[in-house]
């Protein structure tokens, strides 16, 4: 435990800032019902009320409290994005490593499937699937997971290919190790750095993708709060020189930057690059 603290304290300022932001976001997301002054779906007053003591950030197009919806939105959007990214990584990196380790026709089949999926523009692919199957949360998760897993697959396969040709992988094979062991102990530890970096980036992309879908009306469905749809719903305010609709967008941007700070630092650490000053 003290070791982890030591590592965190030795982090550069940018990474510390990133960790602080992520920490605040997680607290807000987890304890949303206790922090938010009003309920997520409560209609409290008139539409588009200005910032006041009662409604700190005003109200939205239906008269719901903006601040409360921002707080609940953190919970919905981050939770969704995180679970999709994790699922995409499990799926993509596992299949990628299997393809690299086995090679031959397994690699051929998996890679061609991925090629087909990647050849369809992701937004159009998502629109298609979601309009056929409906916009429920499980379908939303499944669709974006598959789309993102293809990118993760490509990266995992390419990096694992470089590891598979190493003599130590051959040593494990000659020893008689099973595929699972080779992947878990010989390949995975050597490709975690690029995968981690990709995780940070992917998370941001997933985040933006969900927001984009919500903006188009295919993401999280009302009345659930979501930062993407909040921008869409209140976009008219921008024309009245009110910056409120930009706040959810800003929340997305801040989190994206914070996560990339952390990932940069982790990459730097694991790549073993030395600072030459």
């Amino acid at each position: 435990m003290s070791n982890i603290l030591k590592i965190i304290f030795s982090a550069p300022l940018s990474a510390k800032f990133g960790m602080l932001v992520v920490l605040i976001y997680s607290i807000v997301a987890i304890f949303a019902p206790f922090i938010a002054p009003y309920g997520e779906r409560e209609i409290l007053g008139r539409a588009f009320e200005l910032w006041s003591d009662k409604y700190l950030l005003g109200t939205d197009n239906l008269g719901r409290d903006m601040l409360s919806r921002m707080i609940f939105g953190a919970r919905n959007t981050i939770g969704l994005a995180l679970s999709i990214t994790i699922l995409a990584f499990l799926l993509g990196s596992l299949t990628g490593m299997i393809a690299a380790a086995l090679g031959g026709w397994v690699d051929q089949i998996l890679s061609r499937i991925v090629d087909v999926l990647m050849s369809i523009p992701s937004l159009i692919f998502a629109l298609l699937i979601l309009s056929i199957f409906g916009t429920s949360v499980p379908y939303l998760i499944a669709t974006i997971t598959v789309i993102d897993a293809t990118r993760v697959y490509r990266l995992a396969r390419a990096t694992a290919m470089n590891v598979v040709v190493m003599d130590y992988v051959e040593v494990a094979r000659v020893r008689g190790e099973k595929l699972g062991w080779v992947i878990r102990k010989e390949i995975l530890p050597n490709i975690t750095a690029p995968l981690l970096a990709e995780f940070g980036l992917r998370f941001c992309f997933v985040f933006l993708f969900i927001s984009a879908l919500s903006f188009l009306g295919l993401g999280l469905q009302p009345p659930a709060a979501d930062w993407g749809s909040m921008v869409r719903d209140n976009a008219t305010l921008i024309t009245f020189e009110d910056m409120t609709p930009l706040l959810p967008a800003g929340a997305i941007a801040l989190l994206t930057i914070a996560i990339n700070f952390i990932v940069d630092w982790m990459l730097h650490k694991s790549s073993g690059l030395k600072d030459v000053s």
Binding site: M166, Y168, R173, R175, G176, K274
Partner: protein, 607 residues
């Protein structure tokens, strides 16, 4: 040409070209800046060759680069003077130094394959320097390149420059690299281990080129190597370095004949052949027998053709041959990584399934392998405990304290203390890494260990220590080794039996004494005569022999018919050798000899 005229102005024979005084260089490590070159002086006259000798970490390459006024990333020159032909390089501006580098001082790197840009044709890369330095126009530079290629006896000198780097062999590429260093007609060339990664026969070819260039054109050179015998052929003076300190400097003859320092003697000793006293095992049982195995990759040609080898328990069988002769393929067939196309492998008189997946755990346990490059044979993310411990739990089912205890025992076997147990491969030296690989093989309690060029990536002294360790382990644990190597010195010191492979076929095999004594098989003779000897003048003598003239500077080619060695063989019988497979002869029991000539006939040629 104006530039040339300028260059030749200071060309008196005995003038000092390069002088280094009190050179100190620091390198950045985890502990901060540390001195890696601690006050070295050197002086080089025009037309002289200076050899820098030492193990890795001695600072040889760092000094070599400093002679060009260059310090690698993470290194800095802290004090001292480097004076090249009157120019002080330490204080010279980058612009000044750039004008010198590649023009008046050039550099030949260890791996030509890595030093050439694979995306440009060879002649274009040759012309880059002269055109950049405005010494010649592009057409002039290319013309000069072709001329140089011709004078270096490269095949098809007019067109070879139009090829891409991957289209020529390793030895040719290294020679083209030397030609490239000559492109601007430099005064000084720094050679950084240019032959270390090469076969003995290819090495001679490159040494010949370097020697010709340097003597014919009155160029000075700094030759960096860890192999005394190689540099003895070229250098006028030798400098022995260790940990950045100068140990001894003297003329080559003096160093070889009468070394003054203990360390120099150790270096000489490590390179001197120590014959192994043959272990007499009565009625040795056959452990491994390979019966006329033919193997190849994919739809390609047969890399191994009807290879039969017997390995007796407790003995060392060495497989020798140049790269491309199929040595490593043989190892892959035995381990099951490459199932043979035909033929059988018997282990302890039971038939071994051809593919890895069909073999039982016990069958796998009995054959272990040690690899050429320990850096890639160890997973950088696994600690010594995991590396050595895994075979223990996998094959023998050990766990907990028992396993821990056994790991420490194995570490003692390989002469490392138990503190190494928590180290990562990054925290080990090259020799220590190879020892861990040996411990990993031992952990499985194998019957047979395949050693694939285990010492060729190591320094002379470290390599000798590893060989001594392997021999001690063999005595104590009665291990059997299949020892793959292109280094005949190593083979002579460790092997009981020798198998000479050429282009996937066995040229000769038998007890070491029979193979390494006349009458020689023509190919064995070429290999033996290519091993550098620790005396001056060896290179010239060897190059004048018929074997060298016929056999050097050729590639190993697999042939469908006839004897694959025929086109490099000095005693080949025209028409017959290229047409008919050489008959297998058995001059003595256990000695197989594939040649059209009877062994007695070849005795005459040995004179």
């Amino acid at each position: 040409m104006l530039a040339d005229a300028n260059k030749n102005s200071g060309n008196e024979p005995s003038a000092t070209l390069l002088e280094v005084k009190g050179l100190r260089i620091e390198g950045l490590s985890e502990k901060g800046w540390q001195e890696i070159v601690c006050g070295v002086d050197l002086k080089l006259k025009r037309g002289e060759i200076l050899g820098l000798i030492g193990e890795s970490g001695a600072g040889k390459s760092t000094i070599g680069l400093a002679a060009m006024g260059f310090a690698r990333d993470g290194c800095r020159i802290t004090s001292g003077e480097i004076i090249f032909d009157g120019i002080e390089l330490c204080t010279a501006s980058e612009e000044q130094k750039r004008k010198l580098r590649g023009n008046r001082i050039s550099y030949v790197a260890q791996s030509a394959a890595a030093a050439f840009n694979p995306a440009h044709r060879l002649l274009n890369q040759f012309a880059e320097g002269p055109v950049d330095h405005k010494v010649m126009s592009r057409t002039e530079a290319k013309e000069k390149g072709r001329k140089l290629y011709r004078s270096l006896d490269l095949p098809d000198p007019d067109n070879i420059g139009e090829r891409w780097p991957h289209q020529v062999s390793g030895g040719q590429l290294q020679r083209m690299m030397v030609a490239m260093a000559m492109s601007c007609g430099p005064d000084l060339i720094v050679f950084d281990e240019p032959t270390t990664a090469l076969d003995v026969t290819t090495q001679i070819e490159v040494l010949k080129t370097i020697k010709e260039i340097v003597t014919a054109r009155n160029v000075s050179a700094i030759y960096i190597t860890h192999d005394l015998a190689v540099v003895a052929q070229l250098a006028d003076h030798l400098m022995v370095l260790r940990y950045g300190n100068l140990i001894e400097v003297n003329s080559t003859g003096q160093i070889l004949e009468a070394p003054k320092q203990e360390y120099t003697r150790a270096l000489l000793d490590a390179r001197t052949r120590h014959e192994k006293t043959a272990v007499q095992i009565s009625d040795a049982e056959t452990l491994l027998s390979i019966n006329s195995v033919t193997a190849g990759y994919g739809n390609g040609p047969d890399i191994l053709q009807e290879v039969s080898v017997l390995v007796e328990r407790g003995r060392t069988v060495a497989v020798v041959g140049e790269s491309g002769s199929g040595k490593s393929t043989l190892a892959r067939v035995i381990t099951g990584l490459l199932p043979p196309r035909s033929g059988e492998i018997h282990f302890q008189s039971e038939s071994l399934p051809p593919a890895l997946a069909q073999r039982s755990k016990q069958q796998l346990r009995k054959v272990q392998m040690i690899y050429q490059i320990p850096d890639v044979a160890l997973n950088p993310r696994q600690r010594v405990r995991d590396v050595v411990g895994r075979p223990l739990s996998f094959y023998l089912g050990l766990s907990g304290k028992e396993r821990e205890h056994r790991i420490i025992e194995l570490l003692e076997h390989i002469e490392l203390s138990e503190h190494f147990i928590d180290r990562l491969p990054d925290e080990l030296s090259g020799g220590e890494k190879q020892r861990i690989c040996i411990a990993r093989a031992l952990a499985a309690e194998p019957e047979l260990i395949i050693c694939d060029e285990v010492t060729s990536a190591l320094d002379t002294i470290v390599a000798k220590a590893i060989l001594d360790l392997l021999q001690r382990l063999q005595r104590e644990l009665s291990l059997t080794y299949l020892f793959i190597s292109h280094d005949l010195d190593t083979v002579a010191s460790i092997a009981d039996r020798v198998v000479v492979l050429y282009a996937g076929r066995i040229a000769e095999q038998g007890p070491k004494a029979a193979v390494f004594q006349p009458p020689f098989h023509p190919y064995t003779r070429l290999l033996l005569s290519s091993v550098p000897e620790m005396r001056q003048g060896w290179l010239e003598e060897t190059l004048s022999t018929r074997e060298a003239k016929a056999g050097i500077a050729r590639e190993v080619k697999i042939t469908e018919r006839g004897c694959p060695f025929a086109e490099r063989c000095p005693v080949a019988i025209p028409e017959i050798c290229v047409r008919d497979r050489p008959p297998l002869q058995t001059p003595a029991s256990g000695h197989v000899f594939a040649c059209q000539h009877a062994p007695e006939m070849l005795l005459d040629h040995s004179a």
